[in-house]
């Protein structure tokens, strides 16, 4: 009777202090004029004003929107397509599955460094194609301010779509065969049975995938740091990089805390509707 509670107590305390306690602390910090160290002179929303007046924060936020949408959509599409192809009872499925899943096993730092070399005009794709004889070929997204954020999308999609594939594959394996057969008997084509029967069943998998991918997107830090270093200039900054730079390198803890709070609200904006729909679903069920 008491045992489970006693066993859970340390974890609960650790969670309450280390997660929620520090969330509150960061929230409080964001209303102070803290610079290098925490200082408890409250200044209201000044740090938030400063934050949103900062052009670099604008760049980081709009990058997050671009990166988030593209990363989630492309990973979902590629992951789903791979899963459906793998589900056609092909040969060597286990081997292929492992190959696609493998990028998940390396850290974002490794991914970022490898793609930095691949995308570097003097080392990677551009040089390769030029060496083949196409001397006018240009592929310079990595060093182009306008395009640098898309290189981060490329690397992140490469890393995560295998994982999305594995999730969908598990979902597909859970689909009741009799439903597909029934659809076939009713004269549905393969395309129609996927679109009208199987995908609706996979709805919970979509949800889980979107939630996991969006929190990867919001907390992305190491990939940017390794791949572009936020550059050229600060063109490929994401909010997490902004927060780190301001809180730790620039002695502007107040602005850093404010940006961290905005990121928290970003996560909540995604999580709350999800949890709401999940909980409502389980009550109904």
């Amino acid at each position: 009777m008491w045992l489970p509670k006693i066993i859970l107590a340390p974890t609960t305390v650790a969670m309450v202090v280390c997660m929620y306690g520090f969330i509150l602390w960061t929230g409080a910090l964001s209303f102070t004029k803290s610079r290098m160290l925490p200082q408890w002179d409250f200044v209201g929303f000044l740090q938030y004003d400063k934050l949103f007046a900062n052009p670099r924060w604008d760049v980081a936020l709009s990058n997050l929107v671009v990166f988030g949408i593209l990363f989630i959509c492309i990973s979902l599409v590629i992951g789903l397509a791979l899963a459906i192809f793998l589900d056609q009872k092909i040969k060597a499925e286990g081997l292929i599955r492992t190959i696609y899943l493998y990028p998940m096993a390396v850290s974002f730092v490794v991914t970022g460094t490898a793609w930095k070399w691949i995308l570097n005009p003097g080392l990677g794709i551009e040089k390769l194609v030029r060496d083949f004889g196409f001397t006018d070929f240009e592929f310079r997204w990595l060093v182009d301010q306008e395009m640098a954020i898309y290189t981060i999308v490329i690397a992140a999609v490469w890393q995560s779509s295998g994982f999305v594939m594995a999730m969908f594959l598990a979902g597909l394996r859970g689909v009741d065969d009799s439903l597909v057969k029934a659809a076939k008997i009713d004269g549905a084509s393969a395309w129609q049975s996927y679109w009208y029967v199987i995908l609706p069943i996979l709805r919970p998998v979509f949800f889980s995938a979107v939630v996991i991918l969006s929190h990867i997107a919001i907390k992305s830090f190491d990939l940017v740091q390794a791949l572009t270093g936020g550059g050229p200039g600060y063109a490929s900054d994401l909010p997490a990089n902004f927060m780190y730079t301001f809180a730790f390198n620039r002695a502007q803890m107040g602005i850093g805390a404010a940006s961290a709070m905005i990121m928290l609200f970003g996560v909540l904006a995604i999580l709350v509707p999800y949890l709401y729909s999940e909980l409502r679903g389980s009550n109904r069920g």
Binding site: M36, G229, G231, G233
Partner: protein, 415 residues
């Protein structure tokens, strides 16, 4: 307050446990690479002779960012090291927070006001009292050139920015990269700083980028600065973004590129490659800045200590740092020049001699200005804002007028 009382408890506790503590200094620094580590070892040795034990507290990496994070947590928990490598306006910031100890009596005894140039000693003082000791002076506005490339391209080493554009064009036409550069924010800012000094002169530099005078920042000189800075974009190769500064230096060493604008720490790279100053490579002031000197001074700041033994050890360390022996050994290894004026020069190379001459003459003429790109001139927030504008401008096609507007807005927002 709580921190203080906890610290006091610890201090009492440690006193009870070990009443006879030999004097010891614990020093936080990030000088861990070859030449730097050697320099630190020499300080350790000379303190040993005075019976002061050295407790090394090196936190490597990130240009000191990691070390600063550790220092903050140690200071907040009431247990700061005896001394830490802190520089520029950060010293004021720590002083304001009430962590630093005055070493004014050591300074008075050893006549620091007499041996240090005024601009340097000002940085070391908080409210008129010395709280830090300078170890070296880096000159940031250097142009490193490969004379072989210049010969092949039929170009001459430029002394003004107008001439730079002409010569760089010649070099580029001859098939070399004119300006070796690493597209990282701080390197963009280092070049920007050289342009500011070269185009605007020391007076403008001081007004606009040290005193942050809005009239100077809004003047037409700023337009001209951004115009010249923008023209440099064309002389850099496409692979520059993200490149480390020493890789860029090696491009000059290998003869791939003709020039690099970088502080005197670049000299170490030439030395490691076995190149000689004057023949294999040339060091001259960045275009238009021969009568200017942007300085970057490394220093140790001293933290308040309760224990009298530690206070004495701290003072011994301060004395050693400004001693002629340490200043010489350290700077020979680091590539910089001594912060102390009037030292023997025979062991230094020709680049260092140039730097020393310029240091003395600019200290008198007013051309000696703190480097804003290396955290010497303005508080972190403003320095960061300038860096953002410079790197964003350099990597885009922004017009000079827009660049100026962004700079003014960013500095105003950060002040």
């Amino acid at each position: 307050m709580l921190n203080r009382s906890i610290a006091a408890c610890f201090a009492v506790a440690s006193f009870v446990v070990s009443p006879v503590q030999a004097s010891e200094v614990e020093v936080l620094h990030w000088w861990t690479s070859g030449g730097e580590a050697k320099s630190v070892a020499s300080l350790k040795a000379s303190l040993d002779k005075r019976g002061v034990a050295w407790k090394d507290f090196a936190v490597a990496g990130g240009g000191g960012e990691n070390a600063m994070t550790v220092l903050k947590s140690r200071a907040v928990s009431g247990n700061p090291p005896t001394a830490a490598q802190i520089k520029g306006p950060d010293i004021q910031e720590w002083g304001e927070l009430g962590f630093l100890a005055s070493i004014d009596d050591v300074a008075k005894k050893n006549n620091w006001d007499g041996v240090l140039p005024g601009v340097v000693s000002d940085v070391m003082k908080y409210k008129g009292k010395y709280v830090a000791a300078p170890v070296n002076v880096h000159r940031v506005n250097w142009l490193w050139a490969n004379p072989e490339v210049f010969r092949k391209a039929g170009a001459s080493i430029p002394t003004t920015w107008a001439d730079f554009m002409v010569q760089a064009k010649k070099i580029q036409d001859a098939g070399y990269i004119a300006l070796a550069h690493g597209g990282q924010a701080w390197q963009d800012n280092t070049v920007f700083e050289a342009v500011v000094l070269g185009v605007g002169g020391a007076e403008y530099y001081q007004k606009a980028f040290v005193d942050l005078d809005m009239t100077a920042l809004n003047s037409s000189t700023t337009d001209e600065v951004f115009k010249v800075f923008g023209e440099l974009r064309q002389f850099i190769d496409a692979n520059a973004p993200g490149r480390d500064w020493n890789v860029a230096t090696s491009m000059v060493i290998n003869g791939e590129a003709a020039m690099q604008i970088m502080g005197d720490w670049a000299k170490g790279e030439f030395a490691v490659a076995g190149k000689n100053a004057g023949t294999d490579f040339v060091c001259v002031a960045a275009p238009g800045t021969s009568d200017g000197f942007t300085f970057n001074v490394d220093s140790f700041a001293f933290f308040s200590q309760k224990d009298i033994n530690k206070q004495n050890a701290q003072k011994a360390m301060a004395e050693e740092i400004l001693g002629t022996n340490f200043q010489e050994v350290f700077n020979l290894n680091k590539g910089s020049i001594p912060a102390r004026l009037g030292m023997a020069r025979t062991k230094f190379d020709s680049c260092a001699h140039d730097s020393m001459n310029a240091f003395v003459s600019t200290a008198q003429s007013g051309g000696l200005v703190p480097s804003f790109a290396h955290g010497m001139a303005v508080p972190g927030a403003v320095a960061g804002a300038i860096t953002d504008v410079a790197t964003n401008y350099f990597n885009s096609k922004t017009s000079p007028a827009e660049g100026k507007a962004q700079l003014v807005a960013a500095i105003q927002a950060a002040m």
